[in-house]
Amino acid sequence: MRRSWLYVVLTAALAVAVAVWAVPHLDGDPTTKVWIEGNDLLAVSLATHVDSLSAQVLLLAVGVGLLVQIYSTAYLGHHPRYRSYALVIVLFLLGMIAVVVADDLFVLLIGWEVMGLCSYLLIGHEWQTPIARSGAAKAFLMTRIADLGLLVGILAIGQTYGTYRISEVLAQEPKNSTAIGLLLLVAVVGKSAQFPLHTWLPDAMPGPTPITALIHAATMVAAGVYLVARLLPILEPSELVMTLLAVISAITMLLGALFALVQTDLKRALAWSTVSQLAFMFAALSVGDSDAGTDHLLSHGAFKALLFLGCGCVMHAVGSSALSAMGGLRLRMPVTFWTMTIGFAALAGVIPTVGFFTKDSVLHALEHGRDEGPLPGGIAVAVFCVALVTSFLTAAYATRLWLLAFLAPAAEGRTEPHEAPRAMTGPLIVLAVATFALSIGQPFHLGIGLLSTAVAVAGIGAVLARWRRGRSLDLAAPWLVAELALDRPYSRWIPAGLRSSARAVVDVDRDGIDAYSYGSASTAQVASRVLGLVQSGNVQRYATVIAAGVIVVTAAAVIWT
């Protein structure tokens, strides 16, 4: 038995334990349990809250985690640092579990930030390469800035409700929603890579692909959605917060889809797709429909993990994630091809994949958002329209990627790729099955379904038509390829500002603040020298000093009496 299986067994044990715990709650009543009562002052108690939502997310997390762990034995099993990699995955899962089941906000925060750290460590797994280093640093910094929003948000919740327990908070009348909501928005916008803190996610792609599948598609980035869904009752009363959430999600979904459409790199395109899809979920939440949002979370988790893992297989085969290096893989890698086809179909929203149903629910929710829900009607309509456009674009880029990766002519001069080992294809098959299986029992809305199918077909058709005519699928839109330079503040301006202000601080510290100490030291030295000058050895000078002293002292005494 190879040692790498040890970690699979560990993960499996964890997964089984979690499953045993979570499955009974899938349809059961929400259960809150306090394991360790907190100190009065610290007010942190180890409490869990499991309901059907959290049970589902738990199962998703450990399921994908286990699959990724299995997949990694083949993908990275021979890497010299496999051990730390596998252990960090386990730590990550623990963090995710903490976030999902925590009833105490501080426990949630711990899990939340542990996930961020694991993300940082795993993106930087290939730390020899500058691109991985900078991607990891950027991811960590941007998510951590967001985490601070959560931290202050938690403080605000505690201040407002007098407790840090989610169940107790939700039991009260919503108060102070706008302030709390804005702080939490900062948190989720960063963690879930929403505009304007969205640029870290594509840059996190130098991380190992299984990690991308687990952390940057299925679980951690979705935690923001989960958090908002859990706390929706206390956020909903604030129209400002919900409007902001809607606007952010609309911008993000459109931008993500547009950027995904023009990428020349499969993995990066999928990353933008993730950004866009997360915005979909937030859009659903912004109209107050947490079920639609979380359903899409689960379905997206499954099919996006599938896509990324498939992408990993392709990269494994061709040694690159550039689309130009792919093509013609349909016959060489049949399992990857078919499973990824299912994944792309789900992404595009093709019936009967789960992607269709959950997107359908989101659109349905948005359509209803005009009449009911927390959003102003106009905004809801606008978001609905943007979502339709995004559906169109999503179908288009999914088709484009599928065509370029598998059906395009093979790249020249490359060694013949071969199918990935079974440890890698196995998880793909499982996830592909899940993509269909999860559809069972999903709600179906006829009108919206027809509309969205039409939109999707239009998107697919447009790309296919272009493909048939033999025209390039690369859009000539340089400003889109440059991703609208939205990353520039983070990659250039802020670091430059930080560097120069840091330098200024050091200079001021040395030459400004420290001046008083050096100044007084040299004053003392000068004074000492001056005093030394008086000591010339000339007696008359001494006598003069004494006489002058007497006169001054006497005069002073006379004046003040």
């Binding site: 010339s536 050895g537 000339n538 007696v539 008359q540 006598a543 006489a547």
Partner: protein, 100 residues
């Protein structure tokens, strides 16, 4: 005789003595300046004593002491000047500056 006269005289003497100490280069003349200062004090004391008609004559007693002290001081001073002259062959104080 008004008290003011001897006091003014005394102040003048004191000032001249002080000037002598501060301005003269010759060590012996500086000693003379000291002597003048001490005598100014004596004048003061005697004048006040007379003015108060002090029955136990504190002023005069102190005057006597002061005269003695002045003698002792000058004696010591001259001894030092002598030793100084032996050591550095001059009584010009500007050349006597202590080694530093």
């Amino acid at each position: 005789m008004p008290l003011l006269y001897p006091l003014v005289l005394s102040a003048a003497l004191f000032g001249i003595g002080l000037y002598g100490v501060l301005a003269r280069r010759n060590a012996v003349l500086m000693l003379l300046g000291v002597e003048l200062m001490l005598n100014a004090v004596n004048l003061n004391l005697v004048a006040f004593d007379a003015w108060f008609a002090d029955t136990i004559h504190t002023g005069q007693v102190l005057t006597l002491f002061t005269i003695t002290l002045a003698a002792a001081e000058i004696g010591l001073g001259l001894a030092i000047v002598l030793a100084l002259f032996r050591a550095v062959r001059t009584v010009d104080v500007d050349e006597v500056g202590a080694e530093r």
